[in-house]
Symmetry: C2
Subunit: 240 residues, 2 copies
DNA sequence: GCTCTTTGGTCCGGACTTGGACCATTACGT
DNA sequence: ACGTAATGGTCCAAGTCCGGACCAAAGAGC
């Protein structure tokens, strides 16, 4: 990065407007599936509803779903009770690991994540959570522990992080965490699946969740920071 | 906000794809001007270059600029040496203050800002800054102190915050801070311009900048948190 | 079984966006 | 003074997106 002399506000601020609706939609849905927002067997909302929620014409959404179908991520049946169902078992990580691409982007995402995820944990701990929300958080944590195969563990991990972000109650923060996770997804799948790594990760997750449940905001943030730093250390070794 | 039972990941994650390129471009340029990225008299980059940087066709960019021209934010001259220059003196705040709209969005932005701005300050302090960057930071701080009229002070304040974000070196974080500032812009303009408010704000700014310059990351973050909290307290009174 | 409802599938005209080529105006350099 | 370069202004054909109407399949309820 030649960022040494970045003292030009316009150049730093003006950004590309996102791509066309079709690609954006495909990317968003694919990301949601890869992050475990929808898991294998889950049904997507009806096209009309989903199109409206994503702010896109049904035609465009349909094209996006067709792309997912071509990629083998979903299947579709029509008629009442039909719909589009996710058919995606998370691949076993550790294979190939060609995640060396675009190191700068990855480092950016690591920095970003280190800011927004602890922030989300802090906010979530600061709020009063409802019983449903507490139960959801506990369940999300348990699922990371119970996941047996590495792929399932990866998805459960994403789900837990997204759940914490959601409990922050800040849509902007939720989106930020989602983007960080999406950017790192490829890389996170390449973490060596060693027993010690998973154990440490789980300990850190539990510390974060405990702190959130007891309303210890600063503790939750610190715990999440340690978790991000630990992950970061593992990941930086995988980048160029 | 009926966020009490937010335990539905798909509903929380799937977001609207941004609007059409034209509106997005207008909004982005108008925001840049209102945040002081371009100040009165500044010249925008040539259309061809700007269009490419914003990832949009020149036609669309031209339509956007035409909208800004209709709004009186810029004027355009053609021929060599011509171009589009900003003609926008920040309005004197405190008038009307009809900023009560969309309280939930504002509270979201306040929460988001309280996370990303301290994070940016922390990151900026963690990096080794070049001489140019240090000088830029100092100059940005000085401009907030020297600004006499309230509108100019508002712009200088935005510029300082955006400068800190830029010095974090993380594009994702820069964008996050920009979005937070943009969302709050309307509200920030409504802060009562009292001598004590400005004095406190300036003291906090100086604390942040000093910490960044000395590489005291945690101190920079804490100082920025205090600044955000102080601003937040002022602003929450203005929302419904 | 029949009908209704839900859901995906298809099609179309209008609007927007793109990428490119070309025109018009102005200042700079020689 | 002249030519050249830089910059905004105009236009067009192709592609994409929208929004809405309508069709087709398949289960739900009577």
């Amino acid at each position: 990065m030649t960022a040494e002399g970045a003292t030009d506000l316009p150049h730093a601020i003006l950004r590309h407007t996102v791509g066309n609706p079709f690609e954006t939609t495909v990317e968003q849905l694919a990301t949601a599936i890869r992050l475990g927002v929808f898991v294998d067997g889950d049904q997507l909302p009806p096209e009309r509803e989903l199109a409206e929620r994503m702010g896109v014409a049904r035609n465009t959404l349909r094209d996006a779903i067709a792309a997912l179908r071509d990629a083998g991520l979903v299947t579709t049946r029509r008629g009442r009770g039909g719909g589009t169902v996710v058919t995606y078992a998370a691949p076993t990580p550790g294979s190939g690991a060609p995640a060396v691409r675009r190191g700068a982007t990855m480092l950016d995402a690591l920095d970003f994540r280190r800011v927004v995820e602890p922030g989300a944990a802090w906010l979530a701990a600061s709020r009063g959570l409802s019983g449903d929300q507490r139960a959801w958080l506990v369940a999300s944590l348990r699922e990371t522990a119970e996941a047996d195969d590495p792929g399932a563990h990866r998805l459960a991990d994403s789900r837990l992080h997204l759940a914490i972000a959601t409990l922050s109650g800040s849509p902007m923060l939720i989106e930020a965490v989602t983007r960080a996770q999406a950017a790192l997804g490829e890389l996170l799948s390449a973490i060596p699946v060693l027993r010690t790594n998973i154990q440490h990760s789980h300990d850190q997750h539990r510390a974060v969740v405990d702190a959130i449940l007891t309303g210890a905001a600063d503790e939750a943030r610190t715990a999440m920071e340690e978790h991000c730093d630990a992950t970061s250390a593992l990941l930086r070794g995988l980048i160029g």
